[in-house]
Symmetry: C2
Subunit: 176 residues, 2 copies
Amino acid sequence: MDINKFVKLSLGSWRSQRSAHHLAFGHFEEVTSNIDIEALAIDDERVIQLCKTHDIEPQQATSPFKMSWEGESDWDEDETMSGSTILVPIPDIENLTKGRLLREQGYAETIPSVGEYHIGEDGTFLLITKYDRAAAEEKIWFATSNLRFRVSLIKTSDGKGVTTASFSSEIRSFKK
Amino acid sequence: MDINKFVKLSLGSWRSQRSAHHLAFGHFEEVTSNIDIEALAIDDERVIQLCKTHDIEPQQATSPFKMSWEGESDWDEDETMSGSTILVPIPDIENLTKGRLLREQGYAETIPSVGEYHIGEDGTFLLITKYDRAAAEEKIWFATSNLRFRVSLIKTSDGKGVTTASFSSEIRSFKK
């Protein structure tokens, strides 16, 4: 498994069930959402801009994509959460299983982020992103080509404590 | 990481938050429980009996343990779910990262089971158990020495479809 294959497998529309565990309080949160993942052209202006923001040559990018989501939490049923972001993998030279992932808008904080990814021998995609006041760790893996799982941890900035752990089951609803 | 170290890290009492995703219906289930994991002596009569049930020499066993749980589901708040089981690892000769796990009482069906385990390079314990009408896959890993995560899948017997995916966050409440 390399980053190009992983992104290709991820393209399409997904129906997601997400459970968040707020560990200090033992609280559960349930989120249901639809996620769309679509490929972007390597010369898309938004991809080039994001690379430039991080002083990276756009030629180093591979398989850029856009992720959009629209969901509802049982904590606030009246409000729909929605958003979208551009993601651009920058693999290590000659090693597509490791590299950086540029993100227009981060997960734990809404500022641009750069994560470090690594794809393990079992095909699990691991992404670690450090923010000013927190760190995020995501593991994503495919059970079948139409079912993927995601475990996301929000950690304290030293990376030692975990404040929130969440688990998503994502079922493909439409292949692009 | 090998099986002896993994069992040792697991000993103690854990407070567990578990979310089950029933995939066909998009249902969520929330379970809160306390789990106790205690070491058993290698010559404990229950360990020897379990080995004999499976025609395995008891000398092949290592780090046997007992797991007990008591929990409540939001699907049936009036009833407490509780139980206990004996587990006996039988590592492959000269390779403690792979082997079989004997279980007095299975997860998906309440009959004795034998699973195949494998501990990956990142320390994740993977257990695959085949039953007559289903298969179970469990991944367990430690985020810190006091926090472990578990993803459990119930699969169709051919191992291709997933009917239920659940995620547990287990926080150590007491170290034995």
